[in-house]
């Protein structure tokens, strides 16, 4: 096996291991919640017989490790069980909401990633200029505010005051794409503002770091234009840290949108998670948690694989 394949294979195996550990943690964490689930759900007045029947239905009478294995194998097969609060299959509850969450994240990413890389390159190119300082200040200011604050400010200005965009981002399958995009404009803008600073500053820092390398001096002495030196000679070598921070932010976009979804009453997975926690709908919380974790791990895995591939030494062995 080539070293590249070996590295990637190892990384994938490590990702699978991480997921296994997370699934145990989620399961155990829910087990540790105080009180008996059946009693909590059925209420104080339930007869012992109904409690026993409920426990049997949820297989709570079986030992923990058996339940864990059963839960995990069901999960892997796509059977997430039924919701406690309304008895419907969880897969149906989660599916379209997760798709909505992904749609919001993807829209935000499509704006934020190119924007921050472009800004990062420009900031590195005009290092310490007024432009560089303004960009740094603005992005840092935005990252310093909590996202709900930015969200409400945007609503106050663009929605309440100017009436340009809806403050409630309700979307459904029947809407055409541009209407959907219009609906998610404000949450998307909020998320973009929150994640741009990280990626832009990492791009800037890694390019500036590379600009000190001898091959950059060589490129300058070849009489190349500054833009070409930065884009063609510095950027490809700065990719690996940039890919990593982009992946972290993408993962944040999927997983960390809970608050933003709640502010804009967006029908996503985060909204469902918050509702389910308040209703003690344990199977839904478990399933949503594991889906979030999987997304997170997969994105980081993808970042690592891309970072490995972006290294010419590994891509082209001797």
């Amino acid at each position: 096996m080539s070293p590249l394949k070996e590295l990637i294979f190892k990384r994938i195996a490590f990702g699978a291991l991480t997921l296994a550990v997370i699934s145990v943690l989620i399961f155990v964490g829910v087990e540790l919640l105080p009180g008996d689930l059946a009693e909590a759900v059925l209420g104080q007045n339930a007869t012992p017989e109904t409690v026993a029947a409920f426990r049997k239905e949820l297989k709570l009478d079986l030992p923990a490790h058996e339940r864990y294995l059963a839960w995990l194998s069901d999960f892997v097969r796509g059977d997430f069980g039924n919701s406690l609060s309304n008895g419907r299959p969880i897969a149906g509850l989660i599916g379209w909401r997760f798709a909505n969450s992904l749609f919001l994240a993807a829209t935000a990413a499509a704006v934020a990633v190119p924007l921050s890389i472009l800004l990062g390159i420009l900031a590195a190119l005009y290092r310490n200029s007024l432009f560089d300082r303004t960009i740094s200040m603005v992005t840092l200011t935005m990252i310093s505010f909590p996202e709900f604050f930015i969200a409400y400010i945007l609503i106050a200005i663009l929605s309440a005051e100017l009436g340009l965009f809806p403050s409630i981002s309700n979307i459904n399958d029947q809407m055409p794409l541009w209407e959907k995009l219009y609906a998610v404009f404000l949450p998307c803008a909020t998320l973009t503002m929150v994640v741009t600073a990280h990626m832009m500053r990492q791009t800037r820092a890694s390019i500036i770091n590379i600009l000190g390398a001898p091959f950059i001096e060589m490129a300058k002495l070849k009489g190349l234009k500054r833009l070409r030196v930065v884009v063609v000679h510095a950027f490809p070598n700065a990719l690996s840290p940039v890919i990593n921070v982009v992946a972290l932010n993408l993962a944040y976009l999927v997983v960390g949108v809970v608050i933003v979804e709640v502010v804009f009453v967006y029908p996503g997975l985060g909204q469902l998670l918050v509702d389910s926690v308040s209703k003690r709908d344990i199977p839904v919380v478990q399933a949503a948690g594991l889906i979030f974790a999987t997304t997170y791990v997969l994105l980081n895995l993808l970042a690592d694989v891309l970072a490995i591939i972006s290294n010419p030494r590994l891509r082209n062995p001797k």
């Binding site: 091959f215 060589m218 002495l221 070849k222 490809p236 070598n237």
Partner: protein, 561 residues
């Protein structure tokens, strides 16, 4: 006739702290078409700074404060950015010291080579690529049609350096600035690159500024030499004239630097063995064996020099002896007793008796510790010395390495390279060792400073009688200091013995190649050597057909092309 390049009274300043300090202090330099000018000097002499200034380029934190740089009738200090861009790479090109660092690891060689003419709009990609292949062929690079599609890490150091020469030739410039292009290479590889440079500048009548600290190397190429010191011109003259009749004391010192020689000491003849390496094989991880069946004896009060090119396994041998790398097979016997293979299993006494000095004094000394701490630590660790007793001993140690006592409260960063290496020697001495392993201890130093360090090591050996295992790729050093020589090639010992025997013919083929590759202070040395090697090859295959493949050394085989 006006000169192609004329620099007048050039002053270049560097920012140190908040003040501008002069690095080049008003130097005049001129270069004619087709002429090769050598710039000689030690580190800090300002030769690279001056070389780069010929393209009106300064490194970060430097500026051209005054003076004029007139290239082909135009003053570059007054040129606009785009005018400079049209000169850099096109009419004046640059070849850097480390090709490995100066090629962009993310792009192929060819892409970086054609970039110059294509980006300047001089040729189409196709034309530029054809020209690059032609230059690769002229520079005797293997597989010239395809080598351009390789990435920098996929070719060897010498090939990469030649590829960089090819890149500099991409637009057929009027001037190429060579900045120590062979310093990082082994002697045998150095010849390949020197030959390539000589051929290409001759064929195209390209003028060149050749920067080096090694006068013998410069003498092979330069028509005229300028000696620089501390940013000022010491002496300037025709190469032959300067070698034959140097005017200044400093130039004479540079010229005599390789002449130190010393006969093997009498102990080398006795059979008083201190260290014996028996049948050692070693490897890193599960890879190939980097050492194969090594047997070396180091006698008391003698110096054994281990020579070889990079990758010959000589530093690995040092790691095995110190216990940093337990061997696969074989044993280390020290003063009649077998040493545990792993460093962790050795007792404090055997640690004390075996000390090490490293190549880079900068990285071997903790920059946050005063010399008091650096030298006090072994004294306390091995001898439990504290307080006044320790301080007295530290001052004594400083005196042994010819450093003043007030250095005791200095930090390593306040010292020069040679002084730092002296501190490293003092640290080894503090343990009162029986054997000191010196790993390339002079390679990072300027020739004159290195000479001082070698003399010091010699003095200390005469005084305290320890043995040295001296690892180096530099045969001049070997000639100066060794009693016995071990020649290593690809993890094996190809020849070993008392110095006089190894250095007197007949040599083993590889020893011969190494010895003959050391540049001499003779402008005709390279031409004569190449002619000699060509004759030898011709003798080997009188029918003119493919000769008997050379049995061993791969580096030599490259001459069979």
């Amino acid at each position: 006739m006006s000169h192609l390049l004329e620099m007048k009274n050039v002053v270049i300043e560097g920012l140190s702290g908040r003040r501008w300090q002069p690095i080049v202090k008003g130097v005049d330099l001129h270069l004619n078409r087709g002429e090769v000018l050598g710039l000689i000097g030690e580190s800090g002499a300002g030769k690279s700074t001056l070389g780069l200034a010929s393209m009106a380029y300064t490194r970060g934190g430097c500026r051209i404060a005054s003076g004029s740089i007139v290239f082909d009738g135009k003053d570059l200090t007054k040129a606009s950015r785009s005018e400079l861009r049209n000169i850099r790479g096109v009419r004046i090109a640059y070849v850097a010291q480390s090709a490995a660092a100066s090629f962009n690891p993310a792009h192929t060689l060819l892409k970086q080579c054609v970039e110059v003419p294509v980006q300047h709009g001089l040729m189409s990609y196709q034309e530029a690529a054809e020209k690059a292949v032609d230059t690769y062929r002229r520079l005797l690079l293997p597989d010239p049609e395809n080598i351009g599609y390789r990435y920098p890490h996929q070719v060897s150091g010498g090939q990469l350096q030649r590829a960089m020469v090819a890149m500099a030739m991409a637009c057929q410039p009027d001037i190429i600035v060579f900045d120590e292009p062979t310093t990082a290479l082994d002697v045998t590889t150095q010849i390949e690159v020197l030959t390539a440079i000589k051929e290409i500048t001759r064929q195209f009548r390209t003028a060149a500024i050749y920067i080096s600290h090694d006068l013998a190397v410069v003498a092979q190429l330069a028509d005229r030499i300028m000696v620089l010191r501390d940013g000022e011109l010491v002496e300037e003259g025709e190469t032959r004239q300067m070698l034959a009749n140097p005017q200044e004391e400093y130039t004479r010192a540079l010229l005599s630097v390789r002449k130190t020689r010393r006969p093997s000491n009498a102990h080398a003849l006795k059979d008083d063995v201190l260290l014996e390496v028996r049948g050692v094989s070693a490897s890193y991880g599960q890879g190939v064996e980097v050492l194969q069946d090594i047997n070396v004896k180091v006698k008391r009060k003698t110096t054994v020099a281990v020579v070889g090119e990079s990758g010959s396994g000589k530093s690995t041998l040092a790691r095995v002896v110190t216990g940093l790398l337990p061997p696969l097979k074989g044993t280390i016997v020290f003063d009649g007793e077998e040493l545990p293979a792993d460093l962790k299993a050795r007792d404090r006494e055997s640690l004390r008796r075996l000390q090490m000095i490293y190549q880079m004094p900068d990285t071997a000394l903790n920059p946050r510790q005063k010399l008091r701490t650096v030298l006090g630590r072994p004294l306390e660790f091995y001898f439990g010395m504290k307080g006044k007793e320790q301080e007295d001993r530290i001052i004594e140690l400083l005196d042994m390495v010819e450093l003043p006592p007030e250095y005791i409260d200095r930090y390593p960063t306040e010292l020069s390279g040679g002084e730092k290496q002296r501190v490293c020697i003092a640290r080894a001495l503090a343990a009162q060792p029986d054997l000191v392993i010196c790993d390339e201890v002079t390679s990072a130093l300027d020739p004159l400073v290195a000479e001082g360090v070698l003399e010091l090591l010699q003095k200390l050996q005469d005084r305290f009688g320890m043995s040295y295992l001296f690892i180096t790729h530099d045969l001049a050093t070997v000639k100066a200091i060794a009693d016995e020589i071990v020649v290593m090639w690809q993890g094996r010992i190809v020849e070993q013995g008392v110095k006089e025997e190894v250095l007197t013919p007949p040599h083993h083929e590889y020893t011969e190649l190494l010895l003959s590759s050391v540049p001499e202070m003779d402008p005709d040395w390279l031409d004569n050597l190449l002619a000699r090697r060509a004759r030898k090859r011709a003798r080997r295959r009188p029918d003119g057909g493919p000769g008997r493949p050379m049995r061993q050394p791969a580096p030599a085989a490259s001459y069979n092309r």
